[in-house]
């Protein structure tokens, strides 16, 4: 049994002890129900200010606490876009409004981690391991999720957009990693004679380097094929020539969407975007955060479009380590807070709705008198979504989030 099989078996230990062959049967059964289902997680590093993404313009406290950075109520050109009577979306996310109208976009308010840390790095770690407060957890929850999904033996089962391995995917199943770029040039390793020399050197060592090498060769071939084509490059470059050039992740949506559309065996994908730690001058309808949201909104909208029919089988989840202070700070920015939004997009999202518990922004409702509270554990949101979307059982969810009892069923209607 290799490590990958072991990991999967461990999650099913209770059943597999007395059911010989259970593992194979489970895989078979899973592959019938959810073989095409996909999950994309977009992590907004730096803690995005959710209060200026979904704006509670119905709450007077929002305006008294944010004199410089508040967004105006919807109605005039350039102001926030109405979601319902009391909430509106940042105008830089206009690209997402069609999805809201089609009821494919939802937000969970006041979600987050039960751990009170205001450290970016701890909070990101906790959200990625799925084990708040646990400092020795070494695998990520998307990695443990992969172990619960049918192994389709594809080198691109898991895609990571970036250059380093994020904690969320850390573990024995290697993720195919590629850096977002306009050009994918032919590299030395794409030449058979060079590749075979290195194969001879890496193969048969039975260690993590061999594993990475072989996964890399296989994934590279798949990704190169999927992302080849001049049309793609021209499009990407056009995108980079426009407003998105400032952000190196501009265009991430098109590339990832195309890859997932062309390569049916991609099961999970992860993208991290930075630059949301707006301590200074974050702006309101315009400014720093607005620019970032423009890149993000366009990327998400392009991702949804590029997925084509696969969008129906995909859930895109946007998370961030914590929220920011309800009140603006002394420099037109916000400091580290607690509760935040989780964004959900996808074919089977019961969207056009806001979920979660919202009690307003009055002083007595704020966590430690300064931040939005966490009313819904992020693991409840993820469990509600993947449990239904990927058809995972309670015991599978427990293997993904060890030690977490998923009892909050308030989001049970979030998947159609």
């Amino acid at each position: 049994m290799n490590r990958r099989e072991f990991l999967k078996a461990a999650g099913m230990a209770t059943a597999s002890c007395f059911l010989p062959g259970f593992q194979a049967w489970a895989v078979e059964s899973n592959s019938k129900t959810s073989s095409n289902k996909k999950l994309v997680v977009v992590f907004l590093r730096g803690a995005i200010d959710g209060l200026n993404v979904v704006v509670p313009h119905g709450d007077p406290a929002y305006y008294s606490m944010r004199q410089k950075i508040a967004l105006q109520a919807p109605g005039s050109p350039g102001t926030a876009l109405a979601l319902d009577r009391d909430f509106a979306l940042h105008p830089s996310l206009a690209a997402l409004m069609p999805l809201w109208q089609k009821k494919k976009l939802a937000f969970v308010l006041n979600a987050g981690s039960p751990d009170p840390t205001r450290s970016h790095f701890d909070a990101q770690d906790y959200m990625e391991t799925g084990m708040p407060g646990n400092k020795v957890a070494s695998t990520g929850w998307m990695q443990r999720l992969l172990a619960q999904m049918p192994d389709n033996h594809s080198p691109v089962r898991a895609i990571n957009v970036g250059s380093t391995t994020p904690r969320i995917l850390a573990g024995p199943i290697a993720a195919a990693t590629y850096a977002p770029s306009a050009k994918r040039r032919r590299a030395p390793i794409d030449r058979a004679d060079i590749s075979s020399e290195f194969q001879q050197m890496y193969k048969g060592r039975n260690d993590d380097l061999e594993h990475a090498f072989l996964e890399g060769i296989a994934a590279r071939n798949t990704i190169n094929t999927a992302l080849a084509g001049d049309e793609m490059n021209a499009e990407m470059q056009a995108a980079n020539g426009g407003a998105l050039a400032a952000n190196k992740f501009g265009g991430f949506g098109k590339q990832l969407g195309k890859l997932m559309h062309d390569e049916a065996k991609v099961q999970v994908a992860f993208v991290a975007l930075g630059g949301f730690d707006t301590h200074v001058n974050q702006g309101n309808e315009k400014g720093q955060l607005a620019n970032q949201l423009n890149v993000l909104g366009t990327g998400l909208s392009e991702l949804s479009a590029a997925l084509g029919p696969s969008f129906d089988d995909t859930t895109i989840m946007v998370i961030s380590e914590f929220g920011r202070t309800a009140k603006e700070n002394g420099n037109g920015g916000t400091d580290h807070g607690h509760g935040n939004l989780i964004w959900l997009l996808g074919g089977d999202i019961n969207g056009g709705k806001l979920y979660g518990r919202w009690n307003g922004m009055s002083q007595k409702e704020l966590y430690e008198g300064r931040d939005l509270p966490v009313s819904t554990d992020f693991r409840s949101v993820i469990s509600s979504v993947i449990g239904e979307h990927l058809r995972l059982s309670q015991s599978q969810l427990e293997a993904i989030f060890p030690g977490f009892k998923f009892t909050d069923k308030s989001l049970s209607s979030i998947i159609v």
């Binding site: 380093t164 290697a174 890399g216 200074v280 920015g333 580290h336």
Partner: protein, 581 residues
């Protein structure tokens, strides 16, 4: 055992080709050394250990010396092994821990003698900052489109010029400086106190930050290092403290502008990342109190302190209150070149010291003079001195000792260092009042450092991978840009880690399929002499193999020996063994 391994290899090589034969001939010095150092060395070592005087009597075999070189330097260069064997491991460590005695090559000093590294933050702002460039670009002082375009171009060029000068010096020193530990620790501390060149004004100051705040203290006292970073313009800008202002201060009350209240960004990272560590026992209240202490510590007006202030009248008024004209306004009016700017700088030198190498400026009018309580210590409101008091308190905390010790142990010994080693180093930290050289001396003499389990057990970061490749081949950088490109592609763009925690130093972070293949792509192009901007001066595979020594596996050696001649260095640099150190 080693001798027989070598002979077998040599025999095999002979059977393959004439070229392999030449390798076999070139290998023997090392192999013979292995043989000579084999069983005897081991028994001597055991004897030394049992006598309790390990540091005096201990001898080291080649494998151990190469291991030591891998960790104390950025990897062995040809000739290093022989040099250490001649002078002895003890003498080498002593030399590296006291770098002031090491003579720098003249060529290297020239590369490092550039404005980005030698000028003060204020001078850099006044020469290369937006107002200065605007004064030059917009001759008429107007905002017409052609002038704006000219200004954008000037800004891009000044960014590139300063960035490349800084990066060229950093990489050249890392590859060539004989004071290797100094360079290793500069990289370590830069990451510990990370700032990014891509945060606005910091593009002016990254080089100065490294040169004035980090490098001089890299092997000195932690308190001095902490103080230098806390007073460097680059850090104060990066973590926003330059705007941190007491809401009740005269500068905030009833005014518009950016100095209106507390910004706790630097205060938090100062405790979480720079000193105590996230589990260091501080509370949110401590963060808030520390932020109050730090109010007013920022940048000189006219040399960064009015960054982005779009209200010229307010800017002029603020500056006038300090008894001087607003530098940037003057610049625009004068529309002169660099010389004019310096004259203005000299005329202003009275109030903020524009030649100060760190470049901070304490504005008492924005400071909170109330009492504070931090980690149980009472701080009376005295102004600038409060900052020195808290930095001393933070540097002395056992939590700080532990945090720093853990990071050092992880960097030099193992991704998961033992609690015993961390405790040993933390004790040394507290006994020596945070003397970095003393702590490293303890580390380099610890059983854990020399444990056979530690040898070749770390996975190189992309930076170390690049530098060690150049060192093993006597590589020389002619054009720094392609090397910077490789670092970006490998996920470790130099001076561009956006977040204050810096780059990680573990296998978990860096080993992934794409990253590994990109290293192999680099190794292939560089090894055959087709990587732009750098050339391997050493074309002898056997000498490169010597830098890897006995960790080189049979499988790798077999592949290298049977490969076409021009691929051999590429294969060695792309081998699994060379990914580790």
């Amino acid at each position: 055992m080693k001798a027989s391994f070598i002979n077998a290899k040599a025999g095999k090589a002979l059977r393959f080709s004439a070229l392999a034969y030449s390798i076999a001939l070139l290998l023997p010095p090392t192999l013979a050394a292995f043989a000579a150092n084999g069983p005897d060395a081991r028994s001597q070592k055991q004897e030394a250990k049992s006598s309790g005087q390990a540091s005096q009597k201990r001898t080291y075999d080649n494998k151990e010396i190469l291991h030591m070189l891998n960790r104390v330097s950025f990897g062995p260069a040809p000739g290093d092994l022989e040099r250490v064997k001649r002078m002895g491991v003890e003498a080498y460590l002593k030399e590296q821990l006291n770098p002031s005695s090491i003579q720098q090559p003249e060529e290297l000093e020239k590369i490092c003698n550039v404005p980005a590294l030698t000028e003060s933050p204020a001078q850099l702002f006044l020469t290369y900052g937006r107002p200065a460039l605007k004064a030059i670009a917009t001759k008429s002082g107007s905002d017409n489109p052609a002038d704006k375009k000219e200004l954008q171009k000037a800004l891009r060029e000044s960014y590139q010029f300063l960035y490349e000068d800084t990066a060229r010096a950093r990489l050249a020193r890392a590859v060539e400086s004989p004071a290797q530990l100094q360079e290793v620790m500069t990289d370590f501390w830069y990451n510990h106190f990370n700032i990014s060149v891509d945060k606005n004004l910091d593009h002016l100051w990254v080089g100065s930050f490294e040169e004035a705040a980090i490098r001089p203290h890299a092997l000195g006292k932690f308190r001095d290092l902490l103080g230098a970073t806390a007073h460097h313009a680059a850090m104060l800008f990066y973590l926003d403290n330059w705007q941190n202002t007491s809401a009740d201060s005269p500068m905030a009350k009833g005014r518009k502008g950016r100095f209106q209240g507390i910004n706790e960004n630097y205060a938090r990272e100062l405790m979480e990342l720079h000193t105590l560590g996230v589990d260091g026992g501080y509370t949110q209240k401590d963060v808030q109190e520390l932020a109050r202490v730090l109010t007013g510590l920022g940048l000189p007006p006219g040399a960064g302190g009015g960054f982005g202030n779009n209200n010229p009248a307010q800017r002029l008024k603020d500056a006038a209150e300090l008894g001087q004209g607003d530098m940037s306004m003057q610049l625009q009016r004068r529309a002169q070149g660099r010389q004019g700017i310096f004259e203005t700088g000299a005329a202003m030198a009275g109030k903020p010291d524009l030649n100060n190498k760190l470049g901070s400026y304490f504005d008492s009018r924005r400071h909170d003079f109330g009492k504070k309580l931090i980690l149980g210590y009472r701080i009376d409101g005295s102004g600038e001195d409060e900052i020195e008091q808290v930095l001393t308190i933070l540097a002395k905390q056992p939590a700080t000792a532990k945090h720093i010790s853990y990071k050092l142990a992880q960097y030099f010994v193992s991704d998961t260092p033992s609690a015993e080693l961390v405790d040993k180093l933390a004790n040394r930290y507290l006994e020596s009042d945070g003397d970095i050289s003393a702590i490293l001396n303890t580390l380099f003499h610890s059983q854990e450092f020399w444990d056979s389990k530690a040898i070749n057990a770390k996975f190189k970061s992309p930076y170390r991978y690049l530098i060690s490749s150049l060192r093993a081949t006597n590589g020389q950088i002619d054009n720094v840009k392609p090397s910077l490109g490789v670092l970006s592609q490998l996920g470790m763009p130099l001076y561009k880690c956006l977040t204050p925690d810096g780059y990680k130093n573990t296998k978990e972070a860096w080993l992934n399929p794409d990253n590994l293949l990109n290293r192999i792509n680099f190794a292939t192009a560089y090894g055959v002499g087709r990587f732009p901007g750098i050339k391997p001066n050493l074309r002898d595979p056997a000498a490169v193999a010597d830098c890897l020594g006995p960790t080189l596996s049979d499988q790798t050696l077999d592949t290298v020996m049977s490969a076409p001649e021009n691929m051999r260095i590429s294969l060695l640099l792309g081998s699994p063994e060379f990914m580790k150190y």
